[in-house]
């Protein structure tokens, strides 16, 4: 497949691994903040190609993992309403809320449907049903523009029964929070598809303000290895900057159309991230002008007391901050497994725990 196979070239991979080995003159710790990167890194066995002194950490890059329980609880509460259809991306369906999950509710008869796009959810609303269709909007800057397009289309065509429950977030503030926590880091493998939208300029603060390495990276093994090589050079030469490895998809200014759409439909708000606490100006909430499409403002929920008890030994929060890796967790690969997940990091395909579990080869 074009634009994929070239970046899986074995010879190139080996050469890059050798280059890295040669250039790595001290120890380095780089963090990636994108679920796609977590999965790619372990799927292609990148850690085994790196010398011992180059370590990779996984950060809060899985949008599903960093979404708080209250979001799932709200979605579940909506799904129990007779006249509501919940439309969601597949990743959310098994995530545990305080006491249940969308999958469990679906089994109990709630109208919950998996969609691949916001537009698909809109089609369901258009299809003449008098039910309220609520779309669960989660994802970072890569996904938010799609939701924005969908909302604008709903407005243009005059759809009355379409709503969005937004948990969209933006990535740079979370990265800044991680840096400020003081975790030992030398640089970031920056999310390539978020940057396709935001442009590399959104990440310059990492280099300019904090003098940490910063490379916008693609998702194939050659991309990742090249980026690590570039990061090592940035550190060795003490020349941090928001460099673009993924130049076939990312530019300095990014996708301006998408950016305009995001800021037309959404406004930045303070948002709770699982494991990171409240991060100012990190969430995307619908603007007043589009308020009628906001599920929470338009469809009141009964007040509920959320008694949330995370399993005492679940360290999903620390894993999301890169403080621990899944094997550090006492529950990992024992009590907490994909068939029987305790925390979000094990449920989501992009979660660190789910990714690490794949080292256990099953039928």
């Amino acid at each position: 497949m074009k634009h994929v196979d070239e970046y899986r070239n074995k010879a190139l991979i080996e050469k890059l691994a050798a280059l890295i080995k040669r250039a790595a003159s001290r120890s380095y710790i780089f963090m990636e903040v994108c679920g796609g990167h977590t999965a790619a890194i372990h799927r292609f066995g990148i850690p085994s190609l790196l010398p011992d002194n180059v370590r990779l950490l996984s950060g809060p890059g899985c949008p599903v993992c960093v979404t708080n329980n209250s979001f799932i609880d709200k979605a579940i509460a909506y799904s129990k309403m007779e006249d509501v259809i919940i439309t969601t991306f597949g990743d959310l369906i098994r995530i545990p809320g305080s006491s249940s999950s969308l999958e469990k509710e679906k089994a109990r008869g709630a109208d919950i449907r998996i969609v691949f796009s916001g537009l698909e959810a809109l089609e369901i609303a258009k299809s003449g049903s008098d039910k309220k269709v609520i779309f669960l909007g989660i994802g970072f800057e890569t996904t938010a523009p799609g939701t924005a397009v969908t909302i604008k289309e709903a407005a243009d065509v005059g759809i009355e029964n379409f709503y969005v429950l937004s948990a969209h977030k933006v990535m740079p503030p979370a990265m800044e929070t991680i840096i400020k926590e003081g975790i030992a880091l030398d640089g970031f493998i920056c999310p390539g598809h978020v940057a396709a939208i935001t442009g590399s300029s959104a990440f310059s603060f990492i280099a300019d303000k904090y003098r940490l390495g910063c490379v916008i990276t693609g998702f194939e093994p050659v991309d990742i290895l090249q980026a690590i090589y570039m990061l090592i050079n940035q550190v060795n030469n003490d020349s941090p900057s928001a460099e673009i490895q993924y130049s076939r998809a990312v530019t300095r200014q990014g996708n301006v159309i998408a950016q305009r759409l995001i800021y037309e439909v959404f406004i930045l708000s303070d948002e709770q991230w699982r494991g990171l606490g409240v991060i100012p100006a990190s969430g995307l909430t619908l603007r007043k002008e589009y308020g009628r499409y906001d599920a929470e403002s338009s469809i009141p929920l009964p007040p509920s007391v959320n008694v949330y008890e995370e399993h005492a030994l679940c360290i999903c929060g620390e894993i999301l901050r890169g403080l621990k890796i899944p094997p550090d967790c006492r529950l990992f690969a024992g009590t907490c497994v994909p068939q029987n997940p305790v925390g979000a990091c094990m449920v989501s395909n992009e979660g660190a725990c789910n990714t690490y579990y794949k080292y256990r080869r099953n039928e």
Partner: protein, 727 residues
């Protein structure tokens, strides 16, 4: 549903469906085949080919052409389904018919005499279908269409119950009498699916201990049958994977963590319960009348003998034990024990592979046709190769007694007939004294075909490789109690660099003397003494150690003398012996009441989440001297639960460290774990966590046992590979 016309042809190599419709509908139809397939079926693949079809006016089933040269697959026995249970109350012809079954459930392997699968080739042969059953049998839409064991109250088998001198028939009366007996605290012998079982109230300690005594049973835990899943949840902790397995159509015994006490004699202080859910109609019907939600259901046999299947034998041997016996007039053709499963790290670990699993083949990547592997000694199973599949036998048992050997031979002959098997190659263990080896050598002479002898631990690793379709060099770690070592010693903690052809031994746990040979297995205190004596000699005051409190001082000095003089003290590197020693040392199990009791008690004692560990040494071998020293220190102030956890952590870390060294030297990143010691849930889950933390790829046995019950699969593939059959 879709208004499609066409036809279905049930062939021996698959099902050919010709359907006339547009692409979209046909694809929806295809998806539904997979989605709506019965629980016990396994749709391997559905291929859609576009072709011109015509002339279909309806949907019909083509008469099957009987192709005798093609062997069809035999299904494992399937637990009675929910629809049939409903029928017990609502189907007028089958109200309370206790042998009810349909196309989706019922006995299969246990009643099959030959192929192709047909009523005439099963023990239902002597029960001629009445006209009602015959019409259902031929009705395409009926759930009993072509259900070979179909029958009803008019024409099917019947139960009879004998209590002292009197025999009863009539299911209502029988159920009342049995339930009364169990409610009173007495026991009953019951003819089950694969053999006879003994049943009593699992909450009544008098009943259970009496049964145990009469059965001359050691203290090995009894399996129990619960009324339903909510009763299971009342007495045991369960997670999603465990519930899935215990409720599956295979209905194995699940090893679950105990929540609430059953009668103490059921599991003698261990923290696990072997739990099962009903799988025969009789179970369901009986629980309706029983007061207790849980009964002991243990195999009707005596120590190390195969489970009884013959009615006369049962009458003679089991009646004296229980005083009452429930039987029925259909023969059990293939003796089959209940299977035992443990969920480790979300995955299946098969401890005993039998009812519900046998004879589902294991799909392999290469040709093993004509190979027969005879297995090992303990928990024996054998295995035959058919094209690219390995067909494992049911659990035979410890191949140490004459009756078990007879069962072994009989089963081999049966499999020859059932699967039209013609042996071209024989494989067996290296051990010169195993009965399976003796049989292999006789077989070799009689048939004049090549015999390949396979090292025990290599076979363990290969069984896991075969399951996971690995055909390259791996880091193979095989941990068990015993296996013949080519150097003449007993192996059991082997770190091998192995492929399917051969292996090199990288390292192992230190060799330790086994004073008294097999006696050291039965009396773990001997191993504790041996470890300490080897590393600390006279610097320990053995007599004051709590571990040896129950041992005579004369015995202690005798054992020391044996070790000094090398009298009857073979050397072992068996990991099982290491765990025995630790268990005895901290006072949990100086003398074993049943196989693996010492390590089971050691694991059972853990109730701590500590991550700490003891020191150990990796030299030319792995040495636990410092470990034992530290354990003795800890014994002064720490509790057994903590020490046990720490000990297990130590072993896991040592194994992981050796793996890292092996990877550094060989660049191999795949670790294959097999052997009976890895049935220890705490140890395996801990080890997997540590290995994943080091970015290893990890493989474990899930289709066949990690214990000696899986060795035959490894022997099969190694032999086939070496002879050039399997490329």
């Amino acid at each position: 549903m879709y208004g499609l016309n066409g036809e279905v042809d049930n062939r021996t190599n698959g099902v050919l469906i010709k359907v006339d419709g547009d692409a979209e509908t046909v694809f929806k139809f295809r998806d539904q085949i997979i989605e709506l397939s019965p629980a016990a079926s396994q749709v391997k693949s559905v291929e859609v080919i576009e072709k011109k079809v015509s002339g279909f006016k309806n949907f019909r089933i083509v008469r099957s052409k009987n192709d005798v040269n093609q062997v069809t697959e035999i299904s494992p026995d399937i637990a009675v389904c929910a629809d049939c249970i409903d029928d017990l109350s609502y189907d007028p012809k089958r109200i309370d018919y206790p042998f009810i079954n349909c196309t989706n459930c019922g006995p299969r392997f246990t009643i099959i005499e030959g192929l192709p699968y047909d009523r005439d080739k099963t023990s239902m042969r002597k029960f001629k279908m009445c006209s009602n059953c015959a019409s259902e049998y031929h009705d395409v839409i009926d759930r009993r269409f072509h259900a070979q064991p179909i029958a009803c109250n008019k024409c099917g088998p019947i139960y009879t119950y004998t209590d002292s001198e009197v025999t009863f028939s009539g299911i209502e009366e029988i159920l009342s009498r049995i339930s009364a007996r169990i409610n009173e605290g007495k026991s009953v012998a019951v003819k089950g699916m694969g053999g006879y079982f003994l049943m009593c109230n699992a909450l009544d300690n008098n009943a259970v201990s009496e049964l145990r005594e009469k059965k001359h049973r050691d203290s090995k835990p009894f399996a129990v049958l619960f009324r339903d899943i909510s009763s299971v949840r009342e007495y045991c902790f369960t997670d999603a994977a465990e519930e899935n397995e215990i409720m599956s159509w295979r209905r194995p015994i699940l090893i679950l963590k105990q929540k609430k006490n059953l009668a103490s004699s059921v599991n003698s202080g261990l923290d696990t319960i072997g739990s099962m859910l009903p799988y025969m109609p009789l179970h369901h019907m009986l629980f309706k009348k029983l007061k207790t939600p849980v009964v002991v259901l243990t195999s009707g046999n005596f120590f190390n003998e195969p489970i009884i299947t013959d009615d006369i034998t049962a009458l003679n041997h089991l009646m004296p034990v229980t005083g009452s016996i429930l039987s029925y007039n259909r023969k059990i053709i293939n003796r089959t024990d209940d299977s035992v499963v443990r969920i480790i790290g979300g995955n299946i670990s098969l401890i005993r592979r039998s009812r519900g699993y046998v004879p589902t083949p294991v799909d392999l990547d290469c040709n093993v046709d004509g190979t027969i592997a005879l297995g090992a000694e303990q928990k024996n199973s054998f295995c035959i190769g058919r094209n690219k599949q390995a067909i494992m036998s049911q659990y035979i048992g410890d191949l140490k007694t004459l009756s078990t050997y007879e069962f072994f031979k009989e089963s081999i002959e049966r499999f020859h007939r059932l699967f039209f098997f013609k042996p071209q190659l024989i494989a067996c263990d290296l051990h010169p004294d195993y009965l399976s080896t003796a049989y292999a050598e006789i077989f070799e002479k009689e048939l004049n075909v090549p015999l390949v002898k396979v090292q025990h631990h290599h076979a363990h690793i290969a069984s896991c490789m075969a399951e996971n379709r690995i055909n390259e060099k791996v880091i193979g770690i095989s941990m068990d109690g015993t296996g013949y070592g080519p150097d003449g010693h007993t192996w059991g903690s082997e770190f091998l660099i192995a492929d399917l052809k051969g292996f090199t031994r990288y390292t192992h746990f230190d060799y330790i003397p086994m004073p008294g040979g097999d006696k050291a297995v039965d009396e773990p205190w001997r191993m504790a003494l041996s470890y300490l004596y080897k590393y600390f000699g006279d610097n320990i005051d053995y007599e004051v150690l709590p571990a040896f409190r129950s041992v005579q001082p004369t015995q202690i000095s005798l054992v020391r003398e044996m070790i000094d003089k090398g009298i009857n003290t073979p050397l072992t590197s068996g990991a099982g012996r290491l765990f025995d020693a630790a268990s005895a040392l901290i006072g949990l199990c100086p003398v074993s009441g049943f196989d693996s009791e010492a390590p089971m008690r050691l694991e059972s004692a853990i109730n701590s989440t500590t991550e700490s560990h003891y020191p150990y040494e990796i030299g030319t071998t792995v040495i636990f001297a410092e470990t034992f020293k530290a354990v003795i220190d800890d014994m002064r102030s720490q509790d057994v639960s903590f020490i046990s956890a720490k000990f297990h952590n130590t072993v896991a870390l040592a194994i992981a460290e050796v793996s890292e060294r092996m990877r550094r030297e060989t660049s191999i990143n795949k670790v294959v774990l097999s052997g009976g010691v890895f049935q220890n849930k705490y140890l395996l889950e801990k080890l997997i966590r540590i290995l994943i933390g080091k970015n290893f790829y990890i493989y474990t046995n899930q289709l066949v046992p990690a214990n000696d019950g899986g060795v035959s699969l490894g022997q099969l593939i190694i032999a086939s590979k070496n002879i050039g059959l399997c490329v």
